[in-house]
Symmetry: D2
Subunit: 282 residues, 4 copies
């Protein structure tokens, strides 16, 4: 027999720009929102009965309507507001989720000063938040950052590793270490000072990355996760994905030149993939 198993539906890439028209300094927020619903939609999948299906177009409208009325101070609160709304107004659903990616904008600064109503996009880093909730359960809120592209030019080695007959990599005590980091940390409470925690976690991640005497990406990743957990007692776990974006030392010896760790080829492929969760346990 054939049956419907796990399923969900929703709307992705709902883009939103919100302007706060302060006096005199404006602020802008650019969010890319995804929302989804779960529940027993068997009648829809099997029989084409749409009476329980709130259109994804309405989910999009909901994002814009709530954005207008919302007092959310950050993406975590807005993600939570969205799923709370869906659970409250849609009795046919069992759960809801929302994920928001936020692109950074800063006031333009020139020799004329800080401009109150003009902005420059920052990046490539984006900040993220995901809220999910099953009916009659507590919401889960995960904050994150993505595409944080970082590099260290000292204190990174990789040696004494396992070798087999296909190993050609040379040991090194001094290499470049670069990554495009994704981090996701889980909050222990649905209501918290998400902005302050974000600042603490990000600072701990970056300071540890910069200062760590790295014997491997793995060791540095763990040290970063541990530092984040220590800096933010409100979070219970952090997942870090740190692809090893290799910078290969160029062999200049055919040209009679040395290359004491000065000239590299940065590459996007292939790349190492290192990821782990670091968790607080009782």
């Amino acid at each position: 027999m054939i049956e419907l198993s796990e399923n969900q539906y929703g709307k992705s890439r709902v883009r939103l720009m919100k302007v706060e028209r302060g006096a005199p300094q404006h602020r802008v927020f650019e969010w890319n929102v995804e929302v989804w619903l779960t529940g027993d939609f068997t009648s829809c999948f099997l029989e084409g009965d749409n009476t329980l299906i709130l259109p994804t177009d309405t989910m999009k409208n909901t994002v814009y309507s709530l954005a207008r009325s919302s007092g959310a101070k950050n993406i975590e609160e807005f993600a939570l507001e969205l799923i709370t709304y869906f659970l409250a107004t849609q009795p046919q659903i069992d759960g809801a989720g929302a994920r928001i990616g936020s692109t950074g904008w800063s006031p333009i600064q020139t020799t004329a000063g800080t401009h109150a109503t003009a902005f420059v996009q920052t990046g490539p880093e984006i900040t993220t938040a995901t809220a999910t909730q099953s009916r009659n359960a507590a919401p889960e809120i995960i904050s994150g950052l993505d595409q944080l592209t970082i590099l260290k030019t000292a204190k990174s080695a990789f040696s004494h590793f396992k070798k087999d007959k296909l190993t050609t990599l040379r040991e090194t005590e001094d290499r470049l270490l670069g990554t495009v980091m994704t981090a996701n940390w889980t909050h222990t409470r649905a209501s918290s000072d998400f902005d302050r925690i974000r600042v603490s976690v990000r600072d701990a991640l970056l300071a540890t990355f910069a200062g760590h005497d790295s014997k491997s990406v793995q060791q540095t990743l763990y040290a970063m996760g541990k530092a984040a957990l220590e800096a933010a007692p409100e979070i219970s776990a952090i997942h870090l994905s740190m692809p090893n974006k290799h910078c290969n030392l160029v062999d200049l010896s055919p040209f009679g030149q040395d290359n004491p760790n000065l000239i590299f080829v940065p590459t996007d492929e292939p790349h190492g993939s290192i990821q782990a969760t670091v968790r607080r346990v009782e």
Copy 2:
């Protein structure tokens, strides 16, 4: 206390072009390979002890070396060959995984005929295979396809849906239905005729998409999954992701023109996100 939780490491975006120099017709295979290992690497993460860490560079070498000696007839067999090799040669690991994406190439055909040693890339569809195995357990093999971009211009409706105060979408009995499909089907055995099954599954998916009298993406998705399971008794489940890439009817009435479902704006964002697993049960 803080501790290491789930983790894995490996190499991604290992690109490979393999040429079969037949007589006279050549064949080319372009694969993008990802491999990863799991196990107890606590000493690496916590202490920087690399003695259990096979470098990801060696994993890359393994892909190339095995590709040379391999007799694998398709990506499923090669993915399986990779993980079997790692489990056999690396006692320190508990599990291994490999995922391969294959870009299509066809012999160039012109008025001069079919060319034996020249090829044109097809697409955007790619074919995929993922093999994973934990030590002392059977391997799991999932075949798939990705970026299969399809559209139907008839037999697609969406009406009688749930409405709330934020609903503005109009009911329609005749709309365009387009998607960029991802499909993944799970094999019941690690050794099978993967190519024949792929042909059957893909044919069932496409024929059902084309012929289905659709009341919603959900209903069509389920019908497609069911047809695939019926066409291929060797698979136990299929997961389908069918984002609804909306084609919006252009309102030409301000210009005094009608638009009887002829002129549309295709859009990438926002898009509906519909996904489900259809499963065979006893």
Copy 3:
């Protein structure tokens, strides 16, 4: 003194899906349109006087409105129709241009046959057309194709090249030759059988690429351009851009394996850039 020099404005990425509802076989056309206008817009640039500025939003509307009423049989004719319309209705402009990129769609074919109202996107190749015209001059029409990704596994050498003290490349009599081709051919008349010419040019390009005994990308490019001009007397010139997307032979000797041109690493960067125009002269 400071003054305004060359300028133009227009609308880009106007996306359009047009459905021909034949009986029984439908056809779909997906176009990405760019239109632009030139003229003396000094009063706008210098003084903010918009009275001569037709909004780019109206240009977008024009694309949709004309698409509805158009009898154009291909992208060349529709591009020409667009610029003719703007020159006829906008006396303030001196010139107009339109560029269209067309994504391919084919009817879905399964064991159940060819489906009349369901389609699969082909690619990555897209077809292009550009029409430009200055008032009181004849229009120029250029047809093209883009992202045609091709590869040859035989009859490609590169040897006897110039060497200097920084040259490390080895000569080869047998390499893979791959490219992502862009071609643009100029028509001698604004009214022509663009579809038939496209078939002839494309066939000549591909047959020559496949059959040519290549001593360099340059030589093959020229042979291809020459063949296209010979195949289509209605065109006066063809520009070809053929980046050399290198497939590097993997050195398997450290693993005790040979590699007689079987296993390669396809790369996107760095790549050779070879481009030239081949022209018919009296």
Copy 4:
């Protein structure tokens, strides 16, 4: 008769990371380099004679070798150094060009201070420089920036524009104005203080964008170009491309909500395309 017309060849996407290991503060430079050569290569194109063809692989090597020995203080000087080298060492060429795109990296700053050997990538803005030279002529150097993504939330109107029967756009005295700017300015001398000029030009562009009381993108573009030329007497012209990345006001009236320029949908397509050169004349 058919003949070879304009042509060039070279190497693209040569990626380079250069580390300056100061004491204690390191600096990193990430460049993406393109180099090309022109000349009479007819014998190569027509006869497959490669004796005048320096391989593009050697051009790549040249980038790395010169990067090692170079004292260039910025991308303009390095681009110039590359083409000077090719013209000096390759008598068979008539001209050479180099284009460099530079990705920004800044020292990581945390509560622990500024880290001397760890960096975070900035962006999306990249800085660019192009140097070209024909033998026996002076080099031309163009500096630029690309992907500078800016937005203003006040002082932007678009009204009193030309209307025709297809115009539906409403006039507005207060809209968001966003663009992803590309700027290119031409230097009057091959030797100059490129870094200081860059700072002046960029500051003038941004301050004018921010402060300008805009009646159209065109008017603001011209004001920005004019300000750049006034700020940097060493440049003779500036070309600005300012696609109008529309932020559309969301109509919340169906939901009983007002929207006093607070909630917008940012879009990538379609977009306005406005570009012009502003030039200094005697």
